[in-house]
Subunit: 160 residues, 2 copies
């Protein structure tokens, strides 16, 4: 939705800003996904799951915690983890202390995979975002992002 979208009520400045933001919203995730797919045969979402696990104590988290961290529904997470399980990068066991919980852990192979995939990802984010912005702009982007996400949260009911 690059340069179309809601003209009617916006003045020129807002319209151009919205067009630029809409392009960013579409292209940046696509760029990240595409690099991850190409270099590591993972979706960005799957990488996020494995990265979160690699950062946790014992490389283990409850599915519900992981769902929060990865900003996804339990259903989406369940399938993604199932995929990762077939590749032997993650395994699931019922929590011994409460059988309703499921614990997901990275395997050794999974740890390797994350370590292999991370540098390329960090590089790309650096190139696309931080290297193209001045330190001042980076701070501005930080503030702006926080403001908009707060507004979304305030708007109500639909962060997963």
């Amino acid at each position: 939705m690059t340069d179309l979208s809601p003209a009617p009520a916006f003045d020129d400045e807002k319209l151009e800003t919205w067009a630029a933001l809409a392009t960013l919203l579409e292209w940046l995730p696509a760029a990240l996904d595409s690099q991850m797919q190409r270099d590591s045969d993972l979706t960005h979402f799957e990488y996020g799951i494995m990265f979160a696990l690699s950062d946790a104590a014992d490389c283990t988290l409850r599915m519900s915690t992981l769902a929060t961290y990865s900003n996804s529904s339990l259903s989406r997470l369940s399938r993604a983890v199932a995929r990762l399980e077939t590749k032997n990068w993650v395994c699931r066991v019922p929590d011994p202390s409460d059988g309703r919980y499921t614990l997901a852990s990275l395997t050794d192979g999974g740890r390797e995979k994350v370590e292999q995939a991370t540098p390329g990802h960090v590089d790309l984010v650096s190139r696309l975002v931080f290297d193209t912005l001045t330190p001042t702009q980076t701070r501005q982007l930080h503030n702006i992002s926080l403001r908009i996400t707060s507004a979304i949260r305030a708007e109500g009911g639909w962060q997963p």
Copy 2:
């Protein structure tokens, strides 16, 4: 991927900025889609198609032009337009001057639909983005978005 993602090589400031941006990247499109779906039973993408048509001469564009405007593959567009056609909001005819092109046009019903859907969409973008930013921040966001999208374009081969 709210607050996980690539820690390793980023300092704290970059990490927090990236976390905030990643959240924005996930939530803002979801918020827009969700409003559009709820109020008008359209995806944001379908709305974009119809909006682009409503803005064109005779409410008509070639499929390939429309694909560029809506930043999508021809395949995705073809299906989306097929869906809109079954609801009688859009119709397709071969271009009489060159049978390889297909012309997509809004029907009268489609025009009405766009007019009905637009105000709510504009409102939401206003509330989530422009009302939460100062005029200075709006200009900053404009510049920042342009810089990042240029970097993506420069990075090469994968805007559709």
